[in-house]
């Protein structure tokens, strides 16, 4: 899907489905306040697939958890806003937030084995979720469950619906998880590393399934992963996170073809390509800083080959860099020191 298609989809409403503005998530710890997500802003349009990529610990999963209201205490949203269809949801508590979950925003996790209750059949999982959110009779819910199982590609759904999770293989379980996420017809699915725990051969199937179903149901997806290959295949846009901040965001084709941020370039360069004939893989020296020791200025500056004085003292905001936007002073140009451009919700 091209960018223009998405703009077409949005043309009617004008308001993106999900809008995250200056999100800041903090963890009080005995070493002081740790900032896990620092002034992150992005938007997801209806039906769009936004990939969120980054190393372990960059804050991707936390962003997803914050959106759906499942941050583990003592973590908390310190400031910023999360808007669903224009309505703020970041301050919702308890029952109000619960009604959103599953019904408007769904989330699936990494390990399908541990995501399902071993004492409940697959059918019980599905029916329960549907009865919680939709006005259905149990019989109707069961019928829907059967249809869903068929849709996600479970063979012989009439028998399998009464099977327990341990009777399914990893790939099948993840299909069930996807079915569970879709069963209440949410508008957004946050998929947190949905294929990391699966065999490589199965990963492609699951990703393809996710993409197909979400297109069919017009569900937006926030696909969190550390695997750039998956993003390249599946996402419309991609956001690169580093040390709790956004390093770069833009259409997937552009980011892959011509990454602007030095970190993204490093990521791209480190993907092995068959037949490329390089002697050594590109490797970024050093490691992502711990939350308690984030460098001043640009968080990436100690590892960046192109850093200069300004990078060490001032933190760059997202600024236009070719076809994408990157938080890098290399692209300062005329936009001097803009730390939070007001237009970044629309995506680029």
């Amino acid at each position: 899907m091209s960018v223009s298609h998405i703009e077409q989809m949005n043309a009617g409403g004008g308001v993106p489905l999900l809008s995250v503005r200056h999100l800041r998530v903090e963890f009080p710890s005995r070493r002081g306040m740790l900032v896990a997500i620092d002034d992150v802003s992005f938007a997801i349009a209806r039906g769009e697939v936004l990939g969120v990529v980054g190393e372990s610990g960059a804050g991707k999963s936390l962003t997803g958890a914050a959106i759906i209201g499942l941050l583990e205490p003592p973590g908390r949203i310190a400031s910023g806003e999360i808007l669903l269809d224009g309505e703020p949801i970041h301050a919702l508590r308890g029952e109000a937030m619960r009604r959103l979950r599953g019904r408007r925003i769904a989330m699936i996790f990494q390990d399908p084995l541990t995501s399902l209750n071993p004492l409940y059949t697959v059918g019980q999982h599905l029916v329960e979720t549907m009865l919680t959110h939709l006005e259905l009779s149990p019989a109707a819910a069961r019928k829907r469950a059967l249809a869903l199982l068929d849709e996600v590609g479970i063979p012989a759904p009439a028998q399998r619906i009464d099977h327990y999770p341990h009777q399914f293989s990893g790939g099948m379980r993840q299909r069930v998880v996807i079915a569970l996420a879709l069963c209440a017809e949410p508008e957004l699915i946050i998929a947190d590393e949905p294929t990391t725990a699966l065999d490589v051969s199965v990963q492609a199937q699951i990703i393809a399934l996710l993409r197909r179903l979400c297109r069919q149901h017009h569900t937006a997806v926030m696909l969190i992963t550390h695997d750039m290959g998956v993003i390249a295949e599946t996402a419309d846009r991609v956001a690169v996170m580093y040390a709790g901040r956004l390093a770069e965001i833009g259409p997937v084709a552009e980011v892959v073809r011509a990454p602007a941020h030095p970190y993204t370039r490093g990521l791209m360069g480190s993907i092995p390509v068959l037949g490329a004939g390089v002697e050594r893989l590109v490797q970024i020296d050093g490691a992502m800083p711990r939350l308690s020791a984030i460098p001043s200025g640009c968080a990436f500056n100690p590892r960046c080959g192109e850093a200069f004085a300004r990078c060490r003292s001032e933190r760059p905001g997202l600024m236009p860099a070719g076809a994408t936007r990157a938080a890098c002073w290399l692209y300062a140009g005329d936009c001097e020191g803009l730390s939070a451009p007001a237009r970044d919700e629309e995506g680029a």
């Binding site: 896990a36 372990s56 610990g57 003592p74 490691a287 800083p289 711990r290 939350l291 020791a293 460098p295």
Partner: protein, 338 residues
């Protein structure tokens, strides 16, 4: 949280390439690690200790009780076991009240035969604590050894040991201890019984509790056994016991310590129970349990203190040790870190 590898333990690593400037007055080692004491004080363990007033209190109480008990012969105001110093007229004195016949005042009162309860408790606690420590040491030694062997050797040795452990685990400690004691009483000649009773008690309590140590050590051994550094050591020809002692054992000490602390509380309670039932320490070396047994008879005639103070001491001791063990277990459990 970040997954960046760490180069040195506690202070944040300086940016790569930087040098720590030598401070005036310090020695030439510009990059010394902080001392062991400083590391301990800065560790998460110490932090959680200091910030839990209950734990600090328990540690203090335990320390006070243990030291007071061990020093009983030195600090007890009277020797409750020397018949010459006892005055029958002193019997049944209430706490902190002058005896109507002799005018003596005792802090915690006296028992039926004029023994100062405070001293008796000190000596009794001493017996209880010594037996408890000895039993735990015995159980730990036995359990750790068996666990190491079972985990390292594997095969039928492992199966055998674990079977025995499983069967024993289903029998409550008190039953095992009672059986061993019963056998001892049936086998040993009456003359030796009093003298040997304490040792048999230690063995009985220890034998009833070794399984937990064995299991924990065994699973750690199994985990470590297949790691490369162990295999490398074997290839070089390091003898097995040395591998076990130097590599595997240190990894296990944390959980073992937790088991030992809670085990100490259990051992003290078990010993006092056995003594209460009349099958523990001999009457010549009464422990807190014995004192309580004797005191129970006087409950109905109103001399409550004979039972109360030994009971209170026992409770405080067990409680303090249990609290310490609880804290230790939570502090050493990585999954509970907030």
């Amino acid at each position: 949280m970040s997954s960046a590898p760490q180069s040195s333990p506690s202070p944040p690593s300086p940016p790569p390439g930087a040098r720590r400037p030598a401070r005036a007055g310090t020695a030439a080692h510009a990059e010394t690690r902080p001392s062991r004491w400083a590391r301990l004080v800065d560790s998460d363990l110490f932090y959680s200790f200091i910030h839990s007033p209950v734990t600090v209190l328990s540690a203090l109480v335990t320390l006070v009780l243990v030291i007071a008990a061990l020093l009983a012969p030195a600090i007890a105001p009277h020797n409750p076991f020397d018949p010459a110093t006892l005055n029958l007229m002193d019997g049944f004195t209430r706490p902190l009240q002058a005896n109507e016949f002799t005018g003596n005042v005792y802090w915690l009162g006296t028992d039926a035969q004029g023994r100062d309860l405070f001293s008796a408790i000190l000596y009794g606690a001493r017996v209880s604590i010594l037996v408890g420590f000895a039993a735990v040491a015995f159980a730990a030694l036995l359990g750790i050894t068996l666990g190491l062997i079972a985990g390292y050797r594997g095969g039928w040795v492992d199966s055998l040991i674990m079977r025995i452990a499983d069967v024993q685990l289903s029998f409550p400690a008190i039953l095992v201890a009672l059986l061993i004691f019963g056998v001892f009483k049936g086998v040993a000649p009456p003359a030796l019984q009093d003298r040997m009773a304490v040792y048999v008690l230690v063995v009985a309590i220890g034998l009833s509790d070794w399984v937990q140590y064995a299991r924990t050590v065994r699973s750690s051994t199994l985990a470590e056994k297949n790691k490369e550094y162990v295999q490398a050591a074997r290839v070089i020809g390091v003898p097995a016991p040395l591998i076990l002692l130097r590599h595997i054992l240190p990894n296990v000490m944390g959980p073992v310590l937790v088991i030992a602390t809670i085990g100490l509380a259990l051992a003290i309670i078990l010993e006092s129970t056995l003594s209460f039932l009349g099958v523990g320490v001999p009457p010549t070396q009464p422990s807190l349990g014995t004192l309580i047994r004797v005191g129970q008879d006087f409950l109905f005639s109103g001399e409550w203190w004979i039972v109360f103070f030994p009971g209170l001491t026992l409770l405080l001791l067990a409680l303090a040790v249990n609290l310490l063990g609880d804290w230790l277990r939570d502090a050493l459990n990585p999954r509970l870190r907030r």
